[in-house]
Symmetry: C2
Subunit: 101 residues, 2 copies
Amino acid sequence: MQIVLVHVHVKPEFVEAFKEATLANASNSVTEAGIARFDVIQQADDTTRFILVEVYRSPEASAAHKETPHYLRWRDTVAEMMAEPRQGIKYGNIFPEDADW
Amino acid sequence: MQIVLVHVHVKPEFVEAFKEATLANASNSVTEAGIARFDVIQQADDTTRFILVEVYRSPEASAAHKETPHYLRWRDTVAEMMAEPRQGIKYGNIFPEDADW
């Protein structure tokens, strides 16, 4: 699996709009064949900070996601909401094994 | 859900031993009723860095986990492996909804 944690920091006035746009993106993303999970979580002690936990079945699936209409719409919609550039960090899975995602 | 991302930085000589100890802890933890997920991921560009993605169904489940034999064994086993104190950051779930974890 190729796992990407995308760290997002939004301007305070855009928290609700970001959640709405990101819910739309996530609920479409999980229908992609190459995506095992697409979780969206909000930091408890700073609600302007989010992480997108994106679990791809291959590097190709990650590239394919970036060409989908829902990703492109999300990218354009949230562009003005960022308090700072978002950061994606890549991981491999130790647990569970590939078959169990 | 109460989600905790535990950021771990291990000394290079302990990477394999940490993976082994953490696999044992994770595979036992997912059998706890209050735990929805207990993923362990390793950073691609720095293999001494890990995140434990712990998804609890309640704050009580998080407290109960810390009293299990497998957690206590893990805590003691990995103590000497840390390159710096590990850090847990709490999150709430935006997607998916509680019922879908």
